[in-house]
Amino acid sequence: MNTLVSVYREREQTILGGGFILLLILAWEFIPSLVSLPRGLSLFFTTPLTVVQTFYQLVVENKIQSHFYISAIEFAVGLAMAIAVGLPLGLVMGRSRTVDGMLDPFVTAFNATPRLIFLPLFILWLGIGIWSKIVIVFIGALFPLLINTYEGVKNVDRVLVNVVRSFGANEWQVMKVVVLPNSVPYIIVGLRLAIGRALLGVVVGEFFGASKGLGFMIASAATNYKADVVFVGVAIFMGLALLLTLPVKKIESKLTRWRPEAAKTF
């Protein structure tokens, strides 16, 4: 009995958290069979087991793979572009007051507005192929990366910079030796946020004006009352979100131990 108690105490966090999720899944599975749903709702309802079965079916029948690849490409390319633009720009903005001042209103304005608002515009410009989605992913992921890099650079300790300067370092060396290492925790946080935004961009981008991709799959399944397919899509995105952000979170917690302010963003 005592060992049970001590095991519980050690793993209390996981037991409570995991147990709750398990409970919800079980409830979802069994309650519909116990309670009869109003006629309308049952048309759109589904249960975890059905979702799993549908998923298996879709994979076996090779119906889901092409959607997945398209979404994956949109995600990867958009995110890569965001990193390629966001990091250097954040560095420059952080170091140069002039550039910061000039770009600040735009960054503030575009950061406050949901990037989704430009989707009709991008569809108008780029059609319903993958490029309109890539651009949505790009600007969605850009801002967390840009802003967090900027904050990381700006928050570098003046004292440290002066120390390095006193050894005769030029701007480039200051960057390399002090600014960049200092910024890494911030950048990692930005990356985590960017991944979430990028996934969101893929989903939402594919809802409107798309013919392929997981988001499209979800949207068309919804209109055809195939709730199970919808949940397959949602579950895949949820899984991807966790899969991609968990390792980043691990790295982040290691790095923010000495820079706790970096992790304050959401």
Partner: protein, 262 residues
């Protein structure tokens, strides 16, 4: 030299204004004199300004804004009413946090908007699905930020108030609440963006009114200046709300300097 000092003090806003005004002027000049303007593809500031005035006073832009705002306010208020208490309990009781946190984090990490088509099919078109969507998206920042704020309450201050004879209710009113308030406001700031996404998704997908619908309709009919002006309106609203909350955060918590990246 008075001028130079003034410049350094106001450097940021001056540069900001210069670049915005400069961009607008450049944009107008380029498309008036340099590059021929394809009206099905792009537009320029003068046309946007005209469309803006037309739509606000003559067209439906104003009423669209009101409609979208109604749904937004309803959903946002629900998010506050539900999110803050849950967050508070989570922050105060470790066990509740352990139980709910993984589930909520999974929900927060997953693109909940993916459920939007299903919601619309179930709940129909109109106010209800939009409100639900806004709520679903905006509730999480309130939950997480309130929990973080409660958790971050300085234990020393709790001891101080207790040592002067404060009871449970005094602890809540005089320490926990004021200490958590800046966090809640920060959560509100994040929730605004997410809530607007909810409105847009709801209205892009299946709506007949609202500003999101207006934008997509203008896009479908290649009315570019109108589209840009609708986008501009929403941008102004979003920035006003977000920056307003940011200022509120500073007012409420002047001792927390330089935190929270945007």
């Amino acid at each position: 030299m008075g001028f130079k000092e003034k410049y350094y003090e106001y450097q940021r806003p001056i540069l900001g204004m210069v670049s915005v005004v400069g961009l607008v002027i450049l944009w107008e000049l380029v498309f008036t004199y340099l590059i021929p303007l394809n009206p099905f593809f792009f537009t320029k500031p003068s046309l946007i300004a005209v469309a803006f005035r037309e739509q606000i006073f003559g067209g439906s832009l104003w009423s669209d804004l009101v409609i979208s705002s109604k749904a937004f306010i309803w959903g946002f208020s629900l998010a506050i009413i539900v999110g803050i208490p849950i967050g508070a309990v989570m922050g105060w009781r470790r066990r509740v946090e352990y139980t709910l946190d993984p589930f909520l984090t999974a929900l927060y990490a997953s693109p909940l908007v993916a459920l939007a088509p299903l919601l619309i099919v179930v709940l129909g078109v109109g106010l209800v699905p939009k409100v639900f969507l806004v709520f679903l998206l905006a509730v999480f920042p309130f939950i997480f930020n309130t929990a973080a704020g409660v958790r971050a309450t300085d234990r020393l201050l709790i001891n101080v108030v207790r040592s002067f004879g404060g009871r449970e209710k005094d602890l809540y009113l005089k320490v926990i609440f004021p200490s958590t308030l800046p966090y809640i406001v920060a959560g509100a700031r994040i929730a605004i963006g997410r809530g607007i996404v909810g409105i847009l998704v709801g209205e892009f997908y299946a709506a007949s009114e609202g500003i999101g619908f207006a934008i997509s309709r203008f896009g479908d009919t290649y009315m570019l200046p109108e589209m840009f002006s609708a986008i501009l309106v929403l941008m102004i609203v979003a920035v006003a709300l977000t920056e307003g909350l940011r200022k509120l955060e500073v007012v409420l918590a002047p001792w927390r300097v330089g935190q929270e990246a945007r």
